[in-house]
């Protein structure tokens, strides 16, 4: 299991949900488990659905067709582009920070 980040962009629920959905559509419960496994962050159900609501409104994710209590969500094209940009920006910052921390 990954080490749990306490603060910072790596614990942002929206980013975590987008990253989870990058591997394919998932319903809420599956997202929680996946996020806990790859990021070590346990999102509460309220936090998860607050973030899902925002992402749906921003059209970054969309519910898959089909009804029922276990409705899966998928990443939209806009969501995939946004996630790629965000992760690339994070990678640049992380690479620079780590390089500067390395003893000369």
């Amino acid at each position: 299991m990954a080490r749990k980040p306490k603060t910072g962009p790596a614990s942002d629920p929206e980013l975590l949900i987008l990253s989870s959905l990058a591997s394919g559509p998932k319903h809420g419960y599956a997202m929680m488990g996946d996020i806990e496994a790859f990021a070590g962050v346990t999102l509460g159900p309220g936090t998860l659905y607050t973030a899902i609501t925002r992402l749906v409104e921003k059209k970054l994710i969309a519910p898959e067709s089909g009804s029922g209590r276990q409705r899966p969500y998928k990443l939209t094209a806009e969501g995939a582009t946004g996630l790629t940009e965000q992760l690339n920006a994070m990678r640049r910052v992380a690479a620079t920070g780590l390089r500067r921390l390395r003893p000369a």
């Binding site: 309220g46 936090t47 607050t50």
Partner: protein, 239 residues
Amino acid sequence: MKTWIIRTLLRLYPANWRREYGGELTHMLLARPLTENIVGDVFLSALWQRFRAAEISTLVGLGMLLVMLNGFVWNIVAPPPYGSEASMLLQNLWGSNLYVLLLVGCGLWTHLRRRGKLDQSGLAAVKISFLAGIPVMLAGALMLSGVLGVIVLGPGDIPTTFHQHGFTYTYYDATLRSCWIRVQDPAGPLKAVLSTTCPPAPLGVLLAPLFTLPASWLWGMVGGLLGRWIARRRRPVSA
């Protein structure tokens, strides 16, 4: 018990949100142990969704309610001296320019957001006034029931504290009007004496916020008219 807690938590969410996500959230909550952390998390999330779904008039009205309630409590606990800005503004809030601007602003915002009928702007302003008036009506009800006393403070008078007078509201009166008040003398019969200051009548305090509602409606409508004018200027001219 668990089902009851989940149902109660779900009821805290706005109806629209519940229709969209309620089933999924219920399923998730039923599938795992309901710890204090999860209840707190869902409770805060529900409050946030309520806040996001609320009309601007509801939020402004609740803000005003808190301002008034805060002023009411502070007036009882530690009344400010006569003439201080805080005391006069809170007592005469309905007559202040700031309040009128707030109502006009809310009417304008409501019209620009909804693009609906003008009376929606009026109703939004009425909602603000009603919510802001709740602490005043509460004070009136407490006065009527004899729980809350009133002390009239004129220019130069020193306010008394909660410690000295208990549960008493300090009313600031600059006019020093004369009126007859009934005084119960323990040794004699009930008699009327001429007093230089008149405390507000409890029923008057209880009903006063309701009398401000028509004026609030008009100010909201003014804001709505302003919003309509702005919307027309913004709209592109069709060929």
